[in-house]
């Protein structure tokens, strides 16, 4: 029974992780940029949900849309105004640039909201269901489902919409896409915006489960790294599998080694994977 409970916990976490990582993976795959800002984007999403709930009374599951709009604009502007200037530069340049932006954004968050931990405390929580000894808090379950729906939505956008096909085309071959009339820089900005949307949406839905603080950025970023390497880069299904795998690893690792070592376990696994199988569990680099 304990094992079943842990599997359920792992799945619930994993759904959320899939949502966290899909945007990160998209940006990395298409723009070849490691977006160090991703953790702070998630936190901005959580703050949008927090203020929308406490001041406007909008439930976090609905304020996802507000967070998405805010973060799309923010992400689009950052990419169009700043990162696009050096997007073709070597890895180190873009990495340093997003690190600098992260310092700036995160410090602004700290200055604006302080380092206090806050939490969205729902007035009418959905309660808990007991399925023959396995206890599932319904809010968490709903969060997971919503996160998976959002991830599925991204998959759908990439596969079915015109802009999505353009993004995939740029990822496959930048020059060819440009020759076909795709405005590459604009697609970059939209992609970065979409990555920010996924981060903000994840932050918004998970504000009902996890406490919010600007200091969580490194935690989320670390998880996104691990998931991308686990699942393989730049594909939504990869992020999904990687996210669920990390959720499982963390909940079983927490049981065996104690929850304080769950992240270390994930990081050690990441290093081993990079050494022996750098293309991820699925083993190929997906193009959607």
């Amino acid at each position: 029974m304990l094992i079943a409970q842990i599997i359920v916990n792992g799945l619930v976490l994993g759904g959320l992780y899939a949502c966290i990582a899909s945007g990160f993976s998209l940006v990395w795959g298409v723009l070849n940029i490691i977006n160090i800002l991703h953790g702070s984007f998630i936190i901005i999403g959580s703050y949008v949900a927090y203020f929308a709930y406490n001041y406007l009374g909008i439930h976090p599951f609905l304020s996802v849309t507000i967070a998405a709009i805010v973060l799309f604009l923010f992400g689009y502007l950052i990419q169009a105004g700043i990162i696009n200037r050096v997007v073709a530069a070597p890895v180190l340049t873009t990495l340093t640039l997003t690190f600098g932006l992260e310092l700036l954004v995160n410090n602004s968050l700290l200055a604006a909201f302080k380092a206090d931990y806050r939490k969205v405390i729902l007035e009418n929580p959905l309660g808990v269901i007991d399925m023959g000894g396995i206890i599932v808090p319904l809010d968490r379950l709903a969060t997971m489902v919503l996160a998976l729906i959002l991830t599925g939505l991204l998959y759908w956008v990439l596969n079915a919409s015109r802009i999505g096909r353009a993004i995939v085309a740029v990822r496959m071959d930048r020059e060819a896409a440009a020759l076909m009339g795709v405005k590459v820089k604009q697609i970059y900005a939209i992609t970065f915006g979409l990555g920010a949307v996924m981060a903000g949406a994840a932050g918004s839905v998970m504000s009902v489960i996890f406490p919010i603080s600007p200091l969580n950025n490194i935690l989320f970023l670390g998880k996104a790294f691990v998931i991308c390497v686990l699942g393989g880069l730049g594909s939504v299904p990869g992020a999904m599998i990687g996210g669920l795998a990390l959720g499982m690893i963390e909940s079983f690792g927490g049981l065996i080694f104690g929850p304080e070592h769950a992240m270390t376990l994930a990081f050690s696994l990441l290093i081993l994977l990079l050494i022996f199988r750098p293309t991820g569990i699925i083993g190929k680099r997906g193009y959607q």
């Binding site: 700043i82 990495l95 340093t96 690190f99 310092l103 992240m263 290093i271």
Partner: protein, 308 residues
């Protein structure tokens, strides 16, 4: 011209303790320490073009191995090379394991290694004191003498690093590493043993940092995992090298000096927003000064020649 400049710098550093107060001496020691870090990063990042974030790992390992050996009775001056040796051995093993990764994957692997090391040190309480940190034996010297002792020791380490860097830069190793930076497959094709070259560069980027870490432990007398494995220890040297000019010998030193000077100004004036201002500086640097300060200088010289 260049020799004269070098001599002037050396003389300046040597006579500074005669009139400088302890604050100036501490700041200059810090500048030399970061020069060591940025010159070391330059071996793997500047010459070979590998985005390494392993500096914090080497620094922390050096600090802890130096501190632990000092606690167990090894004299201070011997503990510093011990730190360097441990870091170098670790770099050799790590390099053989992960130097086949390229680009982002290498960057992430090195970033994560530092986190794992920090967690190991954090939970190995018997040996390292864990999160409580580790106190080092106190030197029985008065404050002024201590400041000057560490100042001159750091100076010696910095000079050693500069010599190593300029030696590598002029020799076969530096040439090979530059080839690897431009095109690794082609470098392999023309007979450069890329594995050996990269691993050597990685070890070189660790040994002086390890010594510096052990030195730092003795200098501040107390270390804890969050302090010596901090991610900024990996990032700042990179920014300094970019600020100076990567792949050169003077660039990283210049970058370290200018960066710390700026940082000190920022600390003084923006106490609660210093990380943000630092971020702004980094963004401005990447966007408007891609070749670094030396690039600026060369550009001016070039124009001047042209106009004649």
């Amino acid at each position: 011209m260049r020799r004269l400049l070098l001599c002037l710098v050396v003389v300046f550093v040597l006579v500074l303790p005669l009139w400088g107060n302890n604050y100036i001496i501490r700041l200059t020691t810090m500048m030399m320490l970061y020069s060591v870090l940025s010159l070391s990063w330059n071996f793997i990042g500047g010459f070979a073009g590998y985005p390494s974030f392993a500096t914090a790992s080497f620094f922390g390992l050096g600090a802890y191995s130096g501190a632990i050996s000092q606690v167990h009775g090894v004299p201070m001056f011997l503990a510093w090379p011990v730190g360097g040796l441990v870091a170098a051995l670790f770099a050799a093993a790590l390099g053989l394991a992960i130097l086949h990764l390229r680009g982002h994957y290498f960057a992430i692997a090195t970033l994560v290694v530092a986190e794992v090391l920090r967690e190991i040190v954090n939970s190995w309480t018997d040996l390292t004191g864990g999160g409580m940190g580790l106190n080092l034996p106190i030197l029985r010297l008065d404050v002024n003498a201590q400041a000057r002792l560490f100042y001159f020791s750091m100076f010696v380490l910095a000079i050693m690093t500069v010599i190593a860097a300029s030696y590598v830069s002029k020799r076969r190793l530096g040439f090979g590493l530059r080839c690897i930076k431009q095109n690794e497959d082609a470098a392999n094709m023309i007979g450069i043993n890329t594995t050996v070259y990269k691993t050597t560069a990685f070890v070189l980027s660790a040994v002086f940092v390890g010594c510096a870490g052990a030195f730092y432990a003795s200098w501040v007398n107390y270390i804890e995992p969050g302090d010596v494995f901090e991610v900024l220890l990996s990032v700042k040297p990179i920014v300094m090298v970019l600020l100076g000019s990567s792949g050169t010998v003077i660039g990283p030193v210049l970058g370290a000096v200018v960066f710390l000077f700026l940082e000190e100004m920022v600390w003084r004036n923006f106490l609660t927003f210093h990380a943000g201002v630092l971020g702004l500086l980094i963004v401005a640097l990447v966007l408007f000064l891609p070749g670094g300060l030396l690039g600026l200088y060369f550009r001016r010289v070039f124009h001047w020649k042209e106009s004649r």
